[in-house]
């Protein structure tokens, strides 16, 4: 049975944080931040805002967009690296907040690949008749975790807060996207090149205030692997569906860095002149799990998608994990 994205939503915090505001503490120049990332500003949530609160707003919007009732949702998947609590996951809080039924609630933690993993799980659940309407929350409040010292400048300059949500259904509707394929891969050799080491059993249970609780990024390794592996994933998913890059109308990547997005488009020979590369980086920064969903929601709401359009959704993140999704707009 096919699965369709029939609704989407976004929730973005109000507070705009410019490069000019963060550059001094990070020991960087505002123009340098823009030049190396394509980011002009990001949004940060007010202190005390929970990730599930942001996600709940996005999901309510997606439910309304899909034209379904909350009680029709029969599975909830929540992808985040910045959960409300260590235990339990954040999905149960969203279930309670929105008054969903007593349905399965699953938290996943595949970092920036969360959207692809969530879509693959949702598609499999629907395909196996275990669920008929799956809600996906993708949310991060990263600002609370950032090290705003020069030592972490080129990492912390990237990240913003935000949430997106998708409704995946076995039934199609107007403005829906059929999930055609999802290709995923992981190479655990790089677990230390991108991520946060603690708290955990390997580096200790201290929650903050030490080196292991700070985000880590080995820039050149991330750039090299992201550009090569994303391109390979895109080519893989196209090949196994007998498609060419020329068949793709919309490229909706994980919003990591504008230079990486441009490089992917260049490497794939994807034409950017017709506005097919979707980026929300300039205003929102890298919102990790949430970013692809935010970009996809902005594209859906722009009403620029035509029936039959193919969308390619590549992502790369901690692990390293990477992959690409393929969707087609229904008529």
């Amino acid at each position: 049975m096919p699965a369709f994205i029939i609704g989407s939503g976004t929730s973005i915090p109000d507070r705009v944080v410019s490069n000019e505001e963060i550059a001094p503490s990070l020991g960087l120049d505002p123009e340098q931040i823009f030049k190396s990332s394509g980011i002009l500003r990001r949004r940060w949530a007010e202190a005390g805002t929970t990730t599930s609160a942001l996600a709940s707003v996005a999901l309510q919007t997606a439910i309304t967009d899909a034209g379904v009732l909350p009680e029709e949702i029969d599975y909830l998947i929540f992808g985040t690296m910045t959960p409300d609590r260590l235990i339990p996951g954040s999905a149960p809080t969203v279930q309670r907040t929105l008054g969903l039924g007593q349905i399965p609630c699953l938290d996943i933690r595949q970092a920036c690949c969360n959207p692809l993993y969530a879509l693959q799980i949702a598609t499999a659940l629907i395909g196996s008749n275990l669920a008929s309407r799956v809600a996906i929350c993708l949310a991060e409040i990263q600002s609370a975790w950032l090290d705003m010292s020069p030592e972490s400048g080129t990492t912390s300059m990237l990240f913003g807060d935000g949430a997106s949500a998708l409704i995946v259904s076995g039934d199609t509707s107007s403005n829906s996207l059929e999930v055609i394929d999802i290709a995923l891969a992981t190479d655990g050799s790089y677990v230390d090149d991108l991520g946060v080491r603690g708290p955990g059993t390997e580096f200790g249970t201290a929650a903050s205030g030490n080196e292991n609780s700070k985000p880590r990024m080995v820039g050149q390794s991330v750039i090299l692997n992201a550009s090569r592996k994303i391109m390979a994933a895109c080519q893989d998913v196209l090949k196994r569906n007998s498609l060419q890059v020329a068949d793709i109308r919309w490229l909706v990547p994980h919003q990591a860095n504008a230079n990486l997005l441009a490089q992917i488009a260049r490497g794939l020979h994807f034409p950017v002149e017709n506005g097919g590369l979707i980026s929300v980086l300039e205003d929102l920064g890298n919102t990790s799990s949430a970013s692809m969903g935010i970009a996809l929601d902005s594209l859906r709401r722009s009403a620029r998608i035509s029936p039959g359009d193919y969308l390619l959704l590549p992502a790369f993140g901690a692990g390293f994990s990477w992959g690409a999704g393929l969707c087609r707009a229904t008529s």
Binding site: S36, S221, I223
Partner: protein, 80 residues
């Protein structure tokens, strides 16, 4: 040896886009804007295509490709 023209064109165009002249043999390619972390990936791919060498992932870092002379030395050392 001299570097393939396609490789030199890539570096020169990047430098010129940053308002700098074509880099000389010992100019810092990263300071001149001929290379940055992202352009380095495209640069290595070009090198592989035009010189026949294979650059292992662990070698893709600015230290190996800081100047034109360093690039030439790298190619000489890694030719099959």
């Amino acid at each position: 040896m001299s570097l393939p023209q396609a490789v030199l064109d890539f570096l020169n165009e990047n430098a010129q886009r940053e308002g700098n002249p074509a880099p000389g043999p010992n100019d810092d390619l990263f300071k001149d804007g001929a290379l940055d972390s992202f352009a380095l990936i495209d640069f290595v791919t070009l090198l592989e295509e035009h010189t026949g060498i294979k650059v292992p992932d662990k070698d893709v870092n600015p230290g190996n490709f800081q100047t034109l002379d360093a690039v030439e030395r790298y190619i000489e050392t890694h030719k099959g």
